[in-house]
Symmetry: C2
Subunit: 260 residues, 2 copies
Amino acid sequence: MAMADSNSVSHSGNALNLESVRDSLIRQEDTIVFSLIERARYPVNSRLYNQTLGLVPGFSRSLVHFIVKETEAIQAKAGRYENPEENPFFPNGLPPSVVPTHKYPQVLHPAAASININEHIWDMYFNQLLPLFVAEGDDGNYASTAASDLNCLQALSRRIHYGKYVAEVKFREAPQDYEPLIRAKDRDALMNLLTFKNVEEMVKKRVAKKATVFGQEVTLGNNSSGNYKIDPLIVSHLYAEWVMPLTKLVEVEYLLRRLD
Amino acid sequence: MAMADSNSVSHSGNALNLESVRDSLIRQEDTIVFSLIERARYPVNSRLYNQTLGLVPGFSRSLVHFIVKETEAIQAKAGRYENPEENPFFPNGLPPSVVPTHKYPQVLHPAAASININEHIWDMYFNQLLPLFVAEGDDGNYASTAASDLNCLQALSRRIHYGKYVAEVKFREAPQDYEPLIRAKDRDALMNLLTFKNVEEMVKKRVAKKATVFGQEVTLGNNSSGNYKIDPLIVSHLYAEWVMPLTKLVEVEYLLRRLD
């Protein structure tokens, strides 16, 4: 048997610290890049996203909405949302878990459970990100495409909501810096305190490099074709424009509730 | 918009030929390696596979069985199994597709639809492959683990059943070589005719290299840690012991029905 990745707080079994949070964020980059590369196998398949087609009898939304909602219901039964790292896209009416509850480490303030920006992530993914990296066309593979979309959405959602853990760690390291700003509800000052431009530049470079490495055509020779399955610049754009800002939004929302 | 991968017959829009089949097989290697790396994020989580726990009320099989069966039902509604490249693990009682049928190129002999070795693939994956590359332990993430298992199973199933296309192309290129063996139902001779040791060695090396490249820890420096998320030898073992032999089994089964 191999060693498991220490890719989340729940796996590591360790107390929350900056090192474990950082390791998880870095490992999650790989998952995000893999999921985007896999979505790029299919063209846009826009019929999947069209609400007016009425494909599913008795369901007024799009086919992808139906597939994600139904798949989340199955995963809820298997306990997915018992893990505080996971947030559903359609939280209303989810069935209860049938599995014995795992003892996830309780490291977050209870208010964390009320923070879910998946509506925002859904909109960003389908309306802004997806058109940047998929080809036009329709190949009929709606189910596979929607499954790939769900993998992307879940990977992005987990990464962005991981801001709750980032904020908790940062708060514990310097409560004296955060408490006055939290009491003053000073969002801008909190955002400034959470922003490290040099770290963000490094992350943008690293995710672009990951897209280059993971998206290359690997052959037994040394010749790289220079074709990438996803444009590395789009991945750094995704992080710069959406992943990092939305993570910080989650961090601020969490901190504002941290003293409740 | 980017160019879509020509990763399947249904996407390429081209007539079936050795080049398009080969490209698809190579692209599918990446998907398989990604899916294994992602499964390795979680420990074995054996409660998922235990039939005797009776976790799902009214369902006598394991939790992973429940999740795969239910997820396949949703994907069937979205038309997944209208594509002749896709084969369900639980074909009985699947609901019909609600989407307008896509015109997939009809390149296979109709008997292809009767060939489904997913029971074999299921057994191989859970009982032989999985214990080789996941860590011991239980982190409670059963839903995410099962979703990763399903990604692995579907990627392996698609790759192995792609043997139908491989066999069709080879048959068309040299019907005079195959017809006598098919009429004689000579499985061994067909298997010999389909076996190219040097090609198989090359594939084993290439998939191991892909595991090395895609499973490395990518950093901004040049220093590779030498830690891989999945052992490259296990990926070449997977291909040598199971993927390539099972693909040839599909090829032989298809050829035996090719003149019906």
